[in-house]
């Protein structure tokens, strides 16, 4: 089966996120870019399915020319082909993005991808909707947030956990599935994989941008998130202070074997 996996190039953010001076973007001068974690798992899932039952994985992204780097990262994980929907670098909303993907599927051969995989939501803009919108554009059923996927002939069995219970879905192919991290543990790229990815040819298509009813005005980092911890001490010397703080917070009371005589004030007062 030929599988299409859609991924997004997102800033690689670590301990701190900084917004550019014009307030329009996350500052990436000191970092790089990567693929959203859920989507990396979608690629891994697609590769595993083709390893078991044949076929190919085409990985697609929408972004600036540099987004070809992310396609190559995914090719190194075992995807077979890369498709770049090239943009001029401005941000595309979910409506425009899903229209572009549906259009590209038409260009690549509408019947060519019985299974399309997405990440549940992108790491950066987190719209939670591109996969669902593409499914509607193509008239296909869609399941989201999937943590378990099994293919039985033309039927897809998919599962996830919700509010402590297991939800199971069964849909017929062709279908759209969005997955979440945890569905698998993505492999590290192999050296031959990297070499193959470096040489691979990437198909470039240029979709038409369209305005979204939802328009970004600006980004900011919430102010309340920066403080400085009160240091209780160094190493094991800090343990008595730590016990006192835990008592103050009130979590020592829930210790299962607290003294019978020590009640509401906490066992370690």
């Amino acid at each position: 089966m030929d599988i299409l996996v859609c991924v997004k190039r997102v800033p690689m953010v670590g301990g701190k996120v900084v917004v550019t001076a014009d307030g329009q973007d996350v500052d990436t001068r000191m970092s790089g870019f990567t693929v959203s974690p859920h989507e990396e798992c979608a690629v891994e899932e697609g590769v595993r399915l083709t390893e078991r039952s044949g076929g190919s994985v085409t990985v697609l992204t929408l972004g600036p020319p540099e987004a070809a780097d992310q396609l190559r990262e995914m090719l190194a994980l075992g995807a077979h082909r890369g498709v770049l929907l090239e943009t001029d670098g401005r941000e595309w909303g979910p409506v425009a993005t899903s229209a572009a993907i549906a259009w590209a599927v038409g260009e690549l051969g509408p019947a060519s991808f019985p299974l399309m995989l997405f990440g549940n939501e992108s790491a950066d803009t987190g719209g939670y909707q591109v996969g669902v919108r593409v499914a509607h554009e193509l008239g296909r059923p869609c399941v989201t947030g999937i943590k378990r996927l099994e293919l039985a002939g033309e039927v897809l069995r998919a599962g996830r956990e919700y509010r402590g219970a297991q939800e199971e879905f069964e849909v017929a192919l062709p279908a759209v599935v969005s997955v979440k991290e945890g569905i698998n543990l993505p492999r590290y790229p192999s050296l031959p994989g990297r070499l193959r990815a470096k040489r691979a040819e990437i198909t470039v298509l240029r979709p038409q941008w369209q305005a979204d009813g939802l328009r970004k005005v600006g980004l900011r980092v919430p102010v309340s998130s920066a403080q400085r911890a009160q240091v209780l001490g160094q190493g094991t010397d800090a343990v008595p202070e730590l016990v006192r703080v835990l008592g103050e917070i009130g979590v020592l009371q829930s210790a299962p074997r607290a003294n019978a005589g020590a009640d509401g004030d906490g066992a370690a007062a």
Partner: protein, 355 residues
């Protein structure tokens, strides 16, 4: 594209709009996040606006809504509760739910709101696709600036970045980051004449096609054993500093003593040291404990996004410059592999259970 939303001809103004809010069941009541979303929707509807709470009938949930739950919904200021049920709608069916909301909203509602849960986000995405309207996900604030026009604040990066946004649409489709908005004020359940308001409950039967019911969940009642990470009162977190899979024994012991559970950072699951279901963060579980004791965790924003709702964060880290130190309330600078066993010993000693 359908004709969803109040038409401009009728000039529904910001002050007199009708708003729908999707509610979800949680056990035997209305989910807390849904009630917060309902409060959010109340503000959006304005003082004179009509607020309809929408609940889907589920099998085994008879009566669909008890008096206590109904009172909760009315206390937040809903004008009515609409219970949706239909043939074939025996379980969670995202497209059918979105169809029902579309039919309820058509030509009348200026906004449809849901808590940004897996179900809420999915149903709203389908509603957006069915109507061709934009969906603004994870909003924490919204206000109408005119007919068909709103100012929003929404979360990006799971709340580490905020986006100020402008929305233009015939109907605003919003999901609410329920953990990040306040619990709704209760409104007095009295009419203008001082008499108690009778809760209005009505049933709605949507027109559904087979296509709308292609995806229906079957739910197994199988509950995960033990304390759940999402609802634990204490979470003992372990990161790269734990050093390997065997290092978690001390954290497990401490979590057991505190009646809590172990949570881990992404590096721990990507190394295969612990299963992904223990991962705290943007792509794992969001926690809201009384105490999050983060051990050997540097504090990447993707991790911190998972513990924004923790009441108290205490960090144990060898690096005083680690980002977690500027997010925690208290810190111990030291090696968790020495500090945690010593802490376990001290707590046991204080308990009188030290052997």
């Amino acid at each position: 594209m359908s004709d969803l939303g109040a038409s401009a001809d009728h000039g529904v103004s910001a002050g007199e709009s009708a708003v729908l809010c999707l509610l979800e069941h949680d056990g035997d009541g209305i989910a807390a996040g849904s009630l917060r979303a309902l409060g959010f929707a109340r503000t959006l509807a304005g003082s004179g606006g009509r607020l309809t709470a929408v609940l889907f009938g589920l099998p085994g949930a008879e009566p669909v809504v008890g008096d206590a739950a109904l009172a909760e919904v009315m206390a937040v200021g809903a004008s009515e509760l609409c219970v949706v049920s239909a043939e074939g709608l025996a379980g969670y069916a995202p497209v059918a739910w979105a169809q029902a909301l579309e039919q309820l909203a058509a030509g009348q509602a200026s906004a449809v709101v849901a808590a940004a849960t897996d179900h809420g986000s999915e149903v709203m995405a389908h509603l957006g696709a069915l109507t061709g309207l934009p969906v603004a996900a994870n909003c924490i604030a919204a206000s109408a600036v005119g007919p068909g026009s709103w100012q929003l604040v929404r979360q990006r990066w799971a709340g580490s970045v905020l986006e100020d946004a402008a929305l233009e649409a015939s109907c605003a489709l919003l999901t609410v980051a329920a953990d990040s908005v306040p619990v709704a004020d209760t409104v007095p359940a009295a009419g203008s004449d001082g008499a108690a308001v009778q809760p209005a409950v009505r049933t709605f039967v949507p027109a559904l096609t087979g296509d709308d019911l292609r995806v229906v969940a079957t739910e197994s009642a199988e509950q995960s054993a033990g304390v759940s990470l999402a609802t634990a009162r204490v979470v003992v977190g372990g990161g790269r500093g734990v050093g390997g899979p065997e290092g978690f024994a001390a954290l497990e012991e401490l979590a057991g003593l505190l009646g809590g559970v172990v949570g881990v950072s992404r590096v721990v699951t990507s190394q295969g040291w612990r299963p992904h279901r223990q991962q705290v963060g943007q792509t794992g579980t969001k926690i809201s404990p009384e105490l999050y004791l983060a051990c050997g965790i540097s504090g990447a924003i993707q991790h911190m996004a998972g513990c924004l709702s923790a009441k108290h964060i205490v960090a144990v880290n060898t690096d005083p410059e680690a980002p977690i130190i500027s997010r925690a309330e208290y810190a111990v600078i030291g090696d968790l592999n020495e500090v945690i066993p010593a802490l376990v010993k001290a707590i046991r000693a204080a308990d009188g259970t030290d052997g």
